[in-house]
Symmetry: C2
Subunit: 378 residues, 2 copies
Amino acid sequence: MDAKQKKILQEFKKAGARIETKSRVKLKTKADLALFYTPGVGVASSYLAEHPEDARALSVKKNSVAVVSDGSAVLGLGNIGPYGALPVMEGKALIFKEMANVDAWPLVLDTQDVDEIVRTVIAIAPSFGGINLEDIKAPECFEVERRLIEHLSIPVMHDDQYGTAIVVLAGLLNAVKVVKKPLKKLRVVISGAGAAGTACTKLLHLAGITDIIVLDRSGAIYLGREGMNAPKQELSTFTNPNKIIGSLEQVLERADVFIGVSGPNLLTSEHIKTMAPNAIVFALSNPVPEILPDEAKRGGAAVVATGRSDFPNQINNALVFPGIFRGALDKGVTKITEETKLRAAKALAALVPTPTAQKLLPDIFDKRVVPAIAKSVR
Amino acid sequence: MDAKQKKILQEFKKAGARIETKSRVKLKTKADLALFYTPGVGVASSYLAEHPEDARALSVKKNSVAVVSDGSAVLGLGNIGPYGALPVMEGKALIFKEMANVDAWPLVLDTQDVDEIVRTVIAIAPSFGGINLEDIKAPECFEVERRLIEHLSIPVMHDDQYGTAIVVLAGLLNAVKVVKKPLKKLRVVISGAGAAGTACTKLLHLAGITDIIVLDRSGAIYLGREGMNAPKQELSTFTNPNKIIGSLEQVLERADVFIGVSGPNLLTSEHIKTMAPNAIVFALSNPVPEILPDEAKRGGAAVVATGRSDFPNQINNALVFPGIFRGALDKGVTKITEETKLRAAKALAALVPTPTAQKLLPDIFDKRVVPAIAKSVR
């Protein structure tokens, strides 16, 4: 561990936790206790036993989100288990509170079994108004999310999937304004077929982009490729219409957009030069992107974005998830629909009406972001 | 619903929840975000992946307790499910914060199956520094608590069992001072063989009282009684040494102590008159006790306590659970031992060195209570 890392760890130790609880009512006298504990609480309990649908009005369910992870795909660190995941979940809980006044509690799980994760989240769901799944690896995350959405009557979103997809689409909506290309005519290459890559592909397709090629470690995904799991097979049915076979370098030729949600240092300026003119490069691998912004620009990229805060154009989920859950909680929305995801991307993009190559999306501390996204949730 | 109940419900609605989350660090700049979210959080995550034992120093695990209920035995209201239980769990979370600065989060479960409860709590345990079980019915609660204590390396306490038992023993330690009887010579009758009755019996026995008769709905429990479940059979092995058979009225004759954790209005002054002189009556059924204080005194009781805040001598778990978990969290204690329970009862009793019939235990807002109990946890 270097000196800088030691200093960071020291900051984490100093705070202990990043969040704590806070009382919303006073508890100073026996009368307070008699109201909010016994015997008064019996009135609320009896009422909710008869009217469980009113839990949102009378309890923590009103404003709470569980941030749930099994620690199987934490940041770029991989499968580091629940304790490794805990600081990330606390960081999200902190962002939820500061950005959107959502009361989020981190729940890291001592299991990575799909059935167990689903069972556990269903079991604890009555206490929460929403479930933010986080850092669960593909393909397990798809089934976990699908089954929970099916079963629960509170909103469930796997942020690595749709938080990322929404902010990527928002960035792309503004990037095409900068390069003056029609969205639906774009040829998009997506490197990475995990949680983020799969969801980005689906949302971009839903937004009307038909020429998308997704790549995993074996190269381009195409209909009929052997040995693919079910989620990749599904991708192959609506992507890569020309059944292009090949490596990332090969499929990148003449592409308008590169979206990287895969790994560090995959590309050089030489690769970017083979793309169509005015190429858009979203190199989102964190902390080391698929290609550094300067290198991408040397290859002729017109617009470059990364996941990092120290370059322009940070494409960050934190622009999305607080507003999505804020909106869902406020309106009692039980499912985050595809239409909501599209609307959220458009609402976020619309906050920068005249985007430039240096400024695609609003700043993460821009106070307009959460209300705009929340408004798009229906 | 009467006017008073409507007013109480209104207060619950006004606050929405009784607790919320609060940030412990500031998140105002990109530098803050880079420290506590990506990329800084990666340092803490990597470290905890390697050193999970340090989660207490670096995360919410340091100061957090899950208040877990399946809603199967809520207050005197019975099996009213998770939503009915939620206001009680929030009330406890509120008390945890106000009394002991413990960050407790309510988790009400959508299951009442013992295996599922155990599995769920084990699954979510990495996020918490302690587990407070609550309002789970007997006999299921015994197995749930036993299996969780066995499996987890964080403290687990079913408050309806041992929170109650500790405060009852504390009250009794001071009541015998008032009536000047030796503790170990007492003849104690305990009405109720559920969670509280069973734990009280065990702790009083551990404190050296040998003549205890426990009753359930079928009357006195004695060795060899037919049709008893395993927990009652266990009670029969160390209680009722003279194998007295009979109803509550019958076994109450010549008893020194009555402890009611059963139901409303079971006794009259006539029954109390049959007890030994200077009888001690703890009528703890809530909100309606087994006998009202005035009625018990008419029968000659020397010391009377209830669970209610509107009579003298409130015997309330809230005197105990905040300090138990405060102590366990501060010291990294992983099990609440029998010795700790005894010490906690003695520490609580010692805060009123000269008890009277009107004042057995300290007030619930007495600032000395939590530190004294926390100190007894080892």
